[in-house]
């Protein structure tokens, strides 16, 4: 029992609720949202420290012991994701200070942002399938509001599709929960894992697992990504960056949790399907990223490639693959946020996202250009930047289990990704400078700090990958041996 486990959920929730009351105090909103994210970051750091030395931390809400109550569980995997969420969220928030505009600020932008973080943190920490659904909904409802905030025509048009597809996914989630409850008689994840491993993963449980995979794939944009390019290009830059960095990652986290803890007894069926879906998303995402000549479209398709690559590591179901996935997941959260931020700055400067109308920005914005170059190298996994180490481990994992096709597709799509982001770099930064500084639609004042910070972070993650290895290793060990998770939650309870 550790009350700290629930803090990353209730701190942003309560602060967000208080902010709603003081609607006109924008400065108060700004200060407290920054403080909240720093607080959740510190809390998740402490949680990681405790997990490292004392094992997995749990909290049984209301004193109702698992499996009867709702359990909150923090293992190293959740801890790492929580910390990354806080850091990335913080910098996207600081970016929003200088770019989101007073109109949106007065219409609850910061409280909504904190509610989104609440939902994301809740999804990472919950140990109960239905509670996971609730946390998903908290996150999604905030995202519905954030994506429509401002009420531009494009936002409204795209958000209708976004809301509809997520509503349907939520219904299917509930259907899957109902089936799972009917088959196993429990919705506590640890208890589920125990029961499934006792009776063996029969055909019907695998079918339910496929249903969960379908639901989470819709959320994570794994293979079922048709909704993503439209809706992620509609909202303002800060919101698009936080969506790209966090929302799909929650779906990925859920797939990891379910298919390492509960449904891991038939990897030749379930994990192979995940691998095929990952391969298709990598290929289609990379083709989309190459095909378009529009910054926003290229970046959104790159999100899909990243999702596919992370799940390729899970598909191998080896220690190497999972190590790579966790490294790449952390890298992807940072890098997707920063590349969306830089892309947004370019679009704001020029006033268009069409690559053909942008040229020669390196003259007026050399720092922005070179930072984009570093990020572009990092996103395609060039050493010593942060994408490299994850890519090595994932490829090693795919070769180890004989999925050569998966590793090959991963490497080929890396080249395609490199081509697509270099296309942005060459088109918008090289060439004749057609835009003088006084003709620019906006300035880079106030938005450079978060970009610089995140670029430094991606370089640091690449060079300091060794220091992170201890933590990633603990996370992988508990993912590969679910018995430690089950033991920590159920405390020896058995039917």
């Amino acid at each position: 029992m550790n009350n700290l486990v629930i803090m990353p959920i209730i701190v942003p929730l309560i602060i967000g609720l208080v902010m709603v009351i003081f609607r006109q105090r924008i400065l108060f909103h700004k200060i407290f949202s920054v403080l909240t994210l720093i607080a959740t970051g510190v809390i998740s750091g402490v949680l990681m420290y405790q997990v490292k030395y004392d094992g997995i931390q749990t909290l049984q809400l209301g004193g109702w012991e698992a499996p009867f109550g709702v359990s909150m569980v923090a293992d190293m995997f959740s801890g790492l994701l929580l910390l990354t969420t806080s850091i990335v969220g913080l910098f996207c928030l600081i970016f929003a200070f200088g770019s989101i505009g007073e109109d949106r600020e007065r219409h609850y932008f910061y409280p909504l942002f904190l509610f989104l973080i609440t939902g994301v943190n809740g999804s990472f920490l919950t140990g109960d399938v239905f509670n996971l659904f609730v946390c998903f909904e908290v996150m999604l409802i905030s995202s519905y509001a954030l994506i429509t905030l401002g009420g531009e025509k494009k936002q409204l048009r795209e958000s209708i599709k976004y809301v509809l597809i997520n509503l349907l996914a939520s219904f299917l989630f509930l259907v899957a929960v109902a089936y799972l409850y009917s088959v196993t008689g429990t919705i506590n994840m640890a208890h589920l894992a125990e029961r499934v491993s006792e009776v063996g993963q029969s055909g019907i449980i695998t079918a339910v697992a496929m249903m969960f995979l379908f639901v989470f794939s819709l959320k994570a944009a794994l293979f079922l990504f048709f909704w993503l390019p439209g809706s992620y290009s509609a909202p303002p830059t800060a919101v698009a960056a936080i969506f790209a960095a966090l929302l799909t990652k929650v779906g990925i986290y859920a797939i990891f949790r379910f298919f390492t803890l509960i449904f891991h007894h038939q990897p030749e069926v379930t994990h192979l399907i995940i691998g095929i879906m990952a391969a298709i998303s990598m290929l289609f995402g990379a083709i989309g990223a190459i095909a378009f000549n529009d910054i926003k479209k290229i970046l959104t398709y790159n999100v899909i490639v990243g999702v596919g690559f992370i799940l390729a590591g899970l598909a191998t179901y080896t220690s190497e693959g999972l190590t790579g996935s966790i490294y790449y997941l952390i890298h992807d959260m940072v890098i997707k946020a920063v590349i969306f931020l830089i892309g947004g700055v370019i679009i704001a400067l020029v006033g268009t996202s069409k690559l053909n109308d942008i040229s020669g920005l390196i003259k007026t914005h050399p720092y922005l250009g070179w930072m984009f170059f570093v990020v572009a190298l990092s996103i395609s996994g060039i050493p010593p930047l942060s994408g490299f180490i994850g890519k090595v481990y994932i490829t090693e994992g795919t070769f180890e289990v004989g999925y050569y096709w998966l590793g090959a597709i991963g490497l080929i799509t890396s080249l395609m990704v490199l081509f697509s982001v270099m296309k942005i770099f060459m088109n918008s930064f090289w060439g004749e400078t057609i835009l003088s500084e006084d003709m620019e639609k906006s300035s880079t004042k106030g938005v450079m700090f978060p970009i610089v910070a995140l670029v430094v972070l991606t370089i640091g993650l690449g060079i300091g990958a060794e220091g992170l290895y201890d933590y990633v290793n603990i996370a992988v060990e508990s993912l590969m041996n679910p018995s430690s998770y089950i033991e920590a939650v159920l405390l020896g309870y058995s039917d």
Binding site: F130, F133, V134, E137, I141, Y144, A145, T148, G151, K153, K154, L156, R157, S159, I160, K161, V163, L164, L167, L168, S170, F171, L174, V175, V177, A178, Y179, Y181, S182, I187
Partner: protein
């Protein structure tokens, strides 16, 4: 009883799917609402119907109805209520801004 409920759930899903596949926004919202009812009934059915007395101590029965599905449905209904309300407001705003409630006219990137 479970069989009849399952068929009812199937009928609700069919109607909901049909409505979602139409082009008018209001029908789509009604479709999601009907599917959500189907989902709630499904959760209830999956927990097992009429399997014992009320889940209270001290009333002298030995078998009890499972109360968990009802707790789940309660939560799901509340969440669904909120999302439906939000979806209605959103489509009304979209209708005002875009001047249409026909989803066929909301596709593509060009008509901004």
């Amino acid at each position: 009883m479970e069989t009849i409920m399952s068929i009812l759930v199937g009928v609700l899903f069919t109607i909901g799917t049909y409505l979602i596949l139409t082009k008018s926004l209001i029908r789509i919202i009604l479709g999601t609402s009907i599917i959500s009812h189907g989902v709630h009934l499904l959760i209830l059915t999956m927990g097992g119907l009429k399997s014992g007395g009320p889940p209270l101590l001290g009333i002298g029965t030995t078998t009890f109805t499972d109360a968990l599905p009802q707790a789940l449905i309660l939560t799901a209904i509340v969440i669904n209520f909120a999302t439906t309300a939000l979806f209605l407001v959103l489509s009304y705003r979209a209708y005002q801004e875009l001047g249409t409630d026909n989803t066929a006219e909301m596709r593509g990137d060009e008509n901004e």
